[in-house]
């Protein structure tokens, strides 16, 4: 299987490559539009800041390329946020694939630390992406901004308030958490993504 990882100015792409290699896939890291369009799967992952990430994608025309992909796409963390309409982080207009806006955590109590860092549970799983998972499995999150619950939510989680742990529309899937860092559970989610029917 031909898996392309979007190459851009984000951190920690290496861990996604490592995770795919652990499940027997050697991905290509590329910003070439043709390679991204022709791949069996595209992963748009990483850690970064919304404003600089979008500016980078726009400069290279990657915003249009990603938005118009027809193959199954998995956004991870900042990848999921960039696939939304708008992010409160640096007041950034994003790709608009998901009909949702990204907002910053607003602590309610002193123990609400931001960023959320660590393992939290996902619930209300509604996607083949989560095939074979037990209810309320733990996955690894690191983030200061989140996507509220919406029609495209396929998994929920709760930190300060309930919000979207994962989204899906058409051929686009996305997780706020890091499957590549979520042990066996994350590995199962990555395998499930690779086994989705070609759209």
């Amino acid at each position: 299987m031909n898996v392309a990882i979007v190459k851009y100015n984000a951190g920690n792409i290496r861990s996604v490559i490592n995770a795919l290699e652990r499940v027997g896939i050697t991905p290509i890291l590329t910003d070439d539009p043709d390679q991204l369009r022709s791949a069996d799967r595209v992963i748009f992952a990483g850690q970064g800041e919304a404003g600089t990430t979008m500016a980078y994608l726009r400069e290279r025309g990657l915003d249009e390329v990603i938005r118009n992909l027809q193959n199954p796409v998995l956004g991870i963390c900042i990848g999921m946020q960039i696939l939304c309409r708008h992010s409160e982080e640096a007041d950034t207009d994003c790709l608009g694939v998901f009909d949702a806006d990204v907002v910053r955590f607003r602590p309610q109590r002193h123990e609400d630390k931001v960023p959320q860092m660590g393992w939290n549970q996902i619930a209300d799983l509604r996607s083949p992406l989560f095939e074979g998972l037990r209810p309320e499995e733990y996955v690894y999150f690191v983030h200061s901004y989140y996507v509220p619950l919406c029609e495209q939510t396929i998994a929920t989680t709760d930190y300060i308030q309930p919000y979207s742990a994962a989204l899906h529309v058409r051929n686009f899937y996305a997780t706020q958490f890091h499957p590549e860092k979520s042990g066996d559970v994350g590995e199962r989610i990555l395998r499930n993504f690779l086994q989705l029917p070609q759209s």
């Binding site: 951190g11 920690n12 290496r14 630390k113 931001v114 999150f141 983030h143 590549e180 979520s182």
Partner: protein, 251 residues
């Protein structure tokens, strides 16, 4: 619900695991990758690898080790030790580390925190603080607890938070190696003063100590070494115990 984290810490010298007691007297405790994998399989939530090698050669060995850890282990891990400038951070993150822990270099030149945060984001920047209490005053120490700085623990932790650090890892030198429990009064005061997660380190000896640091110390995570390395507290048993006592824990 966000789980409290259990973090085994592995001290690495020349590519092998060692454990210091009160920061001296090193004992050998196995292959770092095999040990990390075993901990991950047992349910450790994260791992910390500290490079205690001084030589350039040892540093190169450590970077190669980080690459192997990143390829083989599927939970987050932090690396620290000998990080003095942005180039060190870049090298270790490129090798596959999820976070870096900075200590003496940040105390000497606090701008390093801002630089890491602006280049790589808050989430990769763990500020580790070694401090000792004397007559009720907590003082920060440099170089693995050898050099006093005159800097107050709470002031420095607050400054690191303000500069954008993603987490604070606080080791009480009074408690480290004693197995008499974590410095919960200081941890509680730190937790109340910080807007970022706090990792407790130094003093773990029993399962109750972990429970206490979460309930009394308000810590977000607890780090320990020898109780895990020598099998004194098996992680599954610890997690069962914490869960039975009402702590939110990943099982």
């Amino acid at each position: 619900m966000l789980a409290k984290r259990i973090i085994p810490c592995l001290d690495i010298k020349d590519g092998m695991t060692v454990k210091g007691t009160n920061f001296v007297n090193l004992r050998q405790a196995g292959d770092p990758v095999a040990l990390g994998k075993a901990y991950s399989a047992q349910g450790a939530d994260e791992l910390v690898y500290l490079d205690i090698t001084a030589s350039n050669e040892g540093r190169k060995t450590f970077t190669e080790l980080v690459g192997r850890i990143a390829r083989e282990i599927s939970i987050p891990f932090t690396v620290g030790g000998g990080i003095n400038e942005l180039a060190d951070v870049d090298r270790l993150l490129n090798a596959g580390a999820d976070k870096v822990s900075i200590n003496s270099a940040a105390l000497r030149r606090p701008d390093l925190i801002d630089e890491i945060v602006s280049h790589f984001g808050s989430q990769v920047c763990v500020v580790a603080i070694d401090a000792r209490e004397t007559d009720g005053d907590w003082e920060c120490y440099l170089n693995g607890g050898r050099v006093p700085t005159g800097r107050n623990l709470f002031d420095w932790a607050h400054e690191a938070n303000e500069r954008g650090a993603g987490e604070i890892l606080f080791t009480s030198m009074n408690h480290d190696g004693t197995k008499n429990g974590f410095a919960n009064a200081a941890l509680r005061q730190l937790s109340a003063a910080l807007t970022i997660p706090l990792i407790a380190s130094g003093g773990a000896g029993t399962k109750q100590h972990f429970l206490d640091t979460f309930t009394e110390g308000h810590s977000d995570a607890a780090l320990a070494a020898s109780v895990f390395h020598f099998g004194e507290i098996p992680i599954p048993e610890l997690k069962q115990y914490l869960s039975d006592h009402g702590v939110s824990i990943r099982r």
